[in-house]
């Protein structure tokens, strides 16, 4: 019988992301698995390829990068703080296209399972399953567990 040894949990501070963290903690405890949290800062739009004539000030990208790294650290810390001592957990903060970065990390860490919230903090609030989660469901090589946040408004 296969076992879950490495679980990857993408986090962004959203309600369903927190539910994913809880679910991961429960399963990791039962399987003696290691949890890897990953936060992806999508800076490509801000820092990415601008045409030469635009020439953004170098200080512009500097401070934004610092802020984003700080935000990533806080989001990862929030998740890591929820994990009991008995479970091994690590946080990773990367930059890039969220779905691709998560899939890359899943490959690199050879995870057995991805646990992800159904939707994050994205703009399209009507969506039941966010674009990143959707992309993971379609492209991950391992099983993907989609967790819903409790709905406050019904």
């Amino acid at each position: 019988m296969a076992e879950y040894r490495h679980i990857l949990v993408p986090v962004d501070g959203s309600a369903s992301s927190l539910k994913a963290v809880e679910q991961a903690i429960e399963l990791a405890g039962l399987c003696d698995a290691e949890i890897n949290f990953i936060h992806v800062a999508n800076l490509n739009g801000v820092m990415g390829s601008y045409p030469a004539f635009v020439s953004p000030r170098s200080t512009f990208s500097g401070s934004i990068l610092e802020d984003v790294v700080e935000i990533g650290r806080k989001i990862l810390d929030q998740a890591l703080d929820m994990v009991p001592q008995s479970i091994k957990a690590k946080g990773h903060c990367v930059n890039g296209n969220p779905a691709s970065a998560i899939l890359q990390e899943a490959e690199a860490l050879k995870v057995d399972l991805i646990i992800v919230g159904s939707r994050g903090l994205g703009v399209l609030k009507g969506t039941l399953v966010g674009s990143v989660s959707r992309s993971l469901l379609g492209n991950a090589n391992c099983p993907v567990l989609v967790v819903k946040a409790v709905e406050e408004e019904k």
Binding site: Q23, E26, L30, G138, A140, V144, V146, V147, K148
Partner: protein
């Protein structure tokens, strides 16, 4: 976080479904949960009443039982598992079952036996992931 006590596994005999069965067994073992396998024959009451011959109904029922029996045979002694056969629109029946039968998690294949083979996430799996209140584990 709610304990996982009962896992629903929709089955249709596809490869994806077989892998979902394995994953569900792993989970049931770890969580000490029960498994409910569900086969949904995609025929509705109108068709059954109006034009489906007994022979067709018999064939469909038999096919469903073969799939359910195979799933149940894979489950080790230590895990409690049951098989259920229903008719109707698969996505709707699966969701109704999950809501009314105290299901804590759904484990299903990413795509079944449907015609559109290029699709990464089948229409039934997609619908379940969107509408389910409980967590859904999608297995390729």
């Amino acid at each position: 976080m709610d304990k996982i006590r009962r896992i629903l596994v929709p089955v249709d005999g596809s490869e994806s479904s077989d892998r979902a069965i394995s994953q569900a067994i792993t989970l049931a073992d770890v969580c000490e949960a029960k498994i409910a396998f569900l086969y949904v024959a995609n025929i509705n009451q109108l068709a059954i009443n109006a034009c489906l011959s007994d022979a067709i109904l018999e064939a469909v029922t038999k096919a469903g039982n073969v799939i359910l029996d195979k799933a149940l045979a894979d489950v080790p002694e230590s895990i409690t598992a049951e098989g259920f056969a229903e008719t109707g629109s698969p996505a709707v029946v699966i969701l109704d079952f999950a809501n009314s039968e105290g299901i804590d998690m759904i484990v299903m294949g990413s795509r079944g036996l449907g015609i559109v083979k290029g699709v990464l996430l089948g229409s039934v799996s997609q619908y379940i992931v969107e509408q389910s209140k409980c967590p859904v584990l999608v297995v390729k």
